[in-house]
Symmetry: D3
Subunit: 321 residues, 6 copies
């Protein structure tokens, strides 16, 4: 049972359109706050998109996700899980990046997560572009060692370099993470891969390192349950990270992103896959690439936070059982 | 065969973008009009959203629905039904609500429908938020007694009170309707229920009263035909109301609404369920919660009137056979 | 000199797109907070639009205004005033209205301001529709007695009733305030009045009570300085309230509002008039009728908070001199 | 005094967002209606843009103008004129064009106006692109002979041909009208001309025929009153047509148009020029080139109908004095 | 192997947001260019919508499609096909239509294609409304004789006339093409037909001439593979044209079109059907009815060019094997 | 007289909505093109926004500016200047930046301009954020030595560092340019400065170095002609650069930008100031900070290219006299 301090503001007392928007209307508990060490799951914003090679915007993601998250209520419709009453959840605020310096930003992010992990908090991140995952994984690996990963995305993000040698972009984080030993490639599964390709460099790397890619065609043919059963097998019982790029979902359902690829899962499949994560040994997760300039309506962000709520229920089930 | 007076304006004579937009380009026949008593199916706007607890807008629904309805043609693609030639259809205009007084508005709405029913007209309503259904049902129950209901929605709308005791909101209409004896709970089926929950008060009420809820998971697993066969069984041969909340449909297909829940039916399923209503003893229907400020493109409204056309064909088949 | 606790978050440390958005990045100090009594100027959101007779939306105003206010920096370009270093400013959060009950909401608002005034805090309100001003004035009048008012608006808001007797709408607040003795009509000046009129009821009331109306034609002919000199004379040295309806400004500059009237002041005049308030004995102010659904770009909100910053500088000059 | 039959629907009885939208909420009185001959000023939609050489859209103008016109109230703020109580005004509906045949459409339009003029109705037209004016003038000239014209526009619309010989486009109507003897070039004044030019063909024609062009630079330098005094002098006491292209106004104030030119009048000047038309012998007027796809917000249309209301007040003053 | 001259600009050298946007970043090789005769597949824009009977816009299609096409990369995800390295592809520019003269425009289009075919180039067209297909087919039939056609659409486009006798609209091209002997009706298959109908004239024509229509209900029931197997059988081994109206796809996935019909295929099915075209004897194809004013986000255009890339891969497989 | 090769495509032959959009429909003449050395004025895109400290987007500027520029015709309305017939103008394409490396990008930009200047071409740049000006000035200074500058902006862009030491951002270019000796501070005038300030660091630098700042209040008080007369005096007869930040203009007129400040010049003043540049010894100019995500309508871009056309006419007058 959670401490009532960590309960969201009730919509029957303060309507959902009212109040300063924190993630899911949870208390804002930043580093230095007296209750920081009592948090069990921390929702963290990383407003950063310096790794974006084409259309920027995810730096605005956390704010729009917080806004949309005010529509999230207390209980899961199917499982009945009430995560906010099961574990102490809080909004830990945003990491402050340096939008004009990638290396400086990555250090700031890793530092923020080091502090968070030191307090025993499990992080649920709202990016930010996909390069966000790399500095987060650097921090997690210090505590957990090389992790497995369930990765929802239309892209592999396993490329080597861009623009004549640039190694840190939103198309390269997981190649770096494998090279740096943060992830165990044999325990990585990438689901939803699709779209036109520049070349095969990334797929060659996946094959050479034993990373399992499930293309969208296979996903549609086998269905969510079958695919996710295999995903759980690949990740196994070890420490596992969940990385969810919003462009995994079909761009009609999630237009607010910078590198869309048509033909993806619908919104029901988008949340179904999360429910199938139950049973994994999750040590952290992220929702990345939500880009508000490409969906000012907030529909993409609402789908993003709906996914985050599903993942949070998995975390609460794991921590609070 | 209908009276040619009630035929829509032909698009070959006046293009669809031309003319003052009435519902489906039908004649506007308001209370007091000489032809009022000849109408068989009346399309009525209820531009009202005072029951909305979060994001307002459905008061603008009827106007946008009328605009989108100018794209609707004369014949159903599958059944071949030509409803406007089968029964006398007309746009009865809008009920004038009092946007600053809920009780006054409900009386005005019930009064408008009393007049309509007195003329033997079957009402097909364009809301308005979901509280609209309550004053409409009050009028219908005077004529038809307690009715069954096929209810498409992502929410049960069976809550008791909001904000410390408010009993009339768009989250409470059907609890009131059951309490007031307007609906027979054992003949109510709610289809598409999903989304995060504040608590279980509404589901407890449903269970205690014998209301059948078909959650979206069950809907997706069983498919439209199977679910609708059960729905027809529940509603049975008695007088039945059809209430269609646009948020039944996945918000990607129908973003123009104030309380979206992800993971719903697509646009094909949205119209399929209507086709499966044939055979019921329908006494009225509504399309509610279309909120233009959240979809200025009119796409939601077009889907809304496409659903209304399907329901109209069911009504025409029932009345005009 | 203000307490550093009350300084906004620096944009050089945390970029403006980062962080949970409070008004002008000030600390959130709600009722019950240990530092509440140290606040000198409190920015308060009133997310409420139940008084709206036509197109709703201002209930979403405070959130969008907070978001836009993250672009506001520390110093005034002309006067050099640094308000956050001059007086203790804070975001006091939102009043929680009851969106389905006008009378209940007005009591909640008045109660919130009673608490605020009891702590000696000067309120700067972000509405909310214009009915918001009435419950705020009720609280202020308890402390200050009948006040003068400088009122920027395209409408007089001096009507008597709507829809057959409704007395509390956004078109009636100042008639009620005069009737209730909250405002001294002889010390009221209304600037920018324009637009088509339903009738002359409101203007007759103004004339009968000695309220000075400056129509937009006179405003354009005389210019800001001359008009505002007269305004200061009318308000005099007594306690004065400033009410700023965003629809005072031309709707091209401020499209995000529900009752626009063309031909108004431009954005430069919109802030100039505020600078001319210096010297008045201001006891509170509001910025109302910002309606996000009609300007999702946030441009209207940014102009709104730019006006709020100008008023804040006037308050800081008055309190901190 | 007008017949109450022709009064708009009251907003105190039916809120402005309710009801089927006719122009200014007037009764719809189409050809064949029993009250047709009693109309004095007829508001007519011409949903047609086949003359558009670049970006289409004005065919949707009348519907959006009607929608926006529901915000127009009964009385002019300055003159006190209540046009709907002074003369019998009605919405005459739309002319049905043939969107795939220019010549056929022009005949349909002229025919509609012939019927209208035969009933003694003064037409106030909502276009449509600017080619609309030509078939209207053809009808008016049958009754009134060659007319003078006060023409507000950023373009002269005096070109000869486009695309290798096409003579009927929205860039050529007034050259045709002069050639056909519908307009007296010496009594034409064009106000607001600006923007980059393809060549000088149109200006050469103006000069050769004695048409007076007042470029925007002269307009800004001299001001509305001075320019309009000259305009009244040019048009003189003879029959005069008023043609108002929405692109006369700066595109920031009126973005909903297909051929914008920067640097134009603001919204206040846009209505001021209409007030200065009083005293002319007006026989008809139009508001053209409102293109909804370029301003779905309706702001342009609201400015358009605000201008139409000003012109209507001039007509009512002339007819009802 | 293609000539490197015809390779697209690399995104690693010039980011995708940079550069003048040609189709898929290919070289622009217009008539008269020295390399024109070396082109094997030519991408051609036909910015024309004079055949549109309701809501215009497709004249802006080619520009938006080019813009979106800068997101297309070099290789197909499933087949591995690299079309730009397999055959010489180029952007041939736009046909210049006469927007005010349908007959003139059709001649210009046919002339452009005559030149293109004379150089042995296979055309892949980006419309334009669906009337575009007619002048293209006129040119193709000169070379190939009567062709079969696989036609993806929600409408049959087999109507006879509109508005009292107009024979050339976007609702009539294939009736004209059959009448003119450009298409062999027995080798035509129309897939995805749905939506309300004006009457049965078009379906009667189809039946009388042996055109096979696969309604959307049949499509959803049988699935892509089964339907397309039949389509390939119908088209057979003869010369076949592929016409793809974007309104084949559900309007939620492709809102940027003028005559939407709900209940269509999703984006995955939209590209799947193209993959099933392999094996046909394709002589040309088009993507029509993309209407940017109804989707300024570019999402529809991106789906449109994703379809074009799939068709291009089929062409490259056929030509380059 | 210019070479006809460099004339824009005629809109009478190819409508403005047709064709691949180059700047002002000029020929695309990239480095390596045989006609490159014949160009006199080169329009260059720099799609780059890595210097942006808050809201990104200007990397998309050049493409949207090109699109909007297709509305620009051949002749200036007042001066009669036909720049494309006076000097050889061409679109030189875009510099390819490295969006993830600021230093690399600046070198690429300077290199591109070195090549351009070597061919004797005067550059007219379409940015990009304001950091763009720095690498351009580095190239120009190699040829021209320290230049004067007329700088239209709401910000001084004279700050020292951001985020703990970052020296290259869009808020620092002109401090760097002065430090590097690229600009002569005594010949710099900054016009339109306004908005809230972080501090006085930038204004202190201006004062210390003799840079003249004309705040917006002074601009509005004195008017365009008087202010520009002083500007010409300050810049004098030496080589002068013109830098035009779109946020100089009021954000209502130019909402498509990332750091708006209310109260600026209107669109007429925006072009008037350019006309007053005639007589200066201009060596290059830029239009920066147009950010399409904040104005997808293209209105800002159209105003931006209207300003570019005015500057181009000044250049043509200077070079072609």
């Amino acid at each position: 049972m959670s401490d009532p301090f960590f309960h969201p503001v009730s919509a029957l007392e303060l309507p959902r359109f009212a109040g300063v928007p924190t993630f899911m209307r949870l208390p804002l508990v930043q580093h230095g706050n007296a209750r920081f060490d009592d948090v069990q799951v921390g929702l963290i914003g990383v407003p950063w998109d310096s790794g974006t090679t084409n259309r920027p915007g995810p730096r605005h993601g956390p704010r729009q996700l917080r806004d949309a998250s005010t529509l999230i209520r207390a209980q899961h419709s199917i499982s009945g899980m009430r995560p906010f009453e099961t574990v102490n959840c809080a909004d830990l605020g945003d990491v402050g990046p340096n939008p004009t310096d990638i290396m400086d930003s990555m250090e700031r992010i890793t530092g923020f997560y080091d502090q968070t992990l030191a307090a025993g908090i499990m992080p649920l991140t709202a990016g930010g572009d996909h390069l966000t995952s790399l500095p987060v994984l650097r921090s997690l690996a210090k505590v957990h060692g090389p992790m497995g990963m369930v990765h929802f995305d239309s892209h592999t993000d396993l490329n080597d370099t861009y623009f004549g040698g640039t190694k840190f972009t939103h198309g390269t984080p997981f190649r770096r993470a494998v090279e740096e030993g943060l992830l165990d490639p044999k325990r990585i599964v990438q689901i939803g891969i699709r779209g036109t390709m520049a070349g095969t460099e990334d797929r060659d790397f996946a094959e050479a390192n034993g990373i399992r890619m499930i293309l969208i065609e296979e996903f549609h043919a086998r269905g969510v349950e079958d695919v996710m059963a295999e995903a759980r097998e690949i990740a196994g019982t070890g420490k596992t990270y969940v990385s969810y790029d919003i462009d995994f979902i079909d761009p009609t359902f999630a237009p607010g992103t910078g590198t869309p690829e048509v033909g993806g899962p619908n919104s029901y499949q988008a949340i179904q896959v999360c429910r199938e994560l139950a049973g994994l040994n999750v040590v952290g997760a992220d929702m990345v690439e939500v880009s508000p300039p490409f969906d000012t309506s907030g529909g993409t962000a609402f789908l993003g936070v709906s996914v985050m709520f599903e993942i949070l229920c998995v975390m609460a089930g794991q921590l609070g059982g």
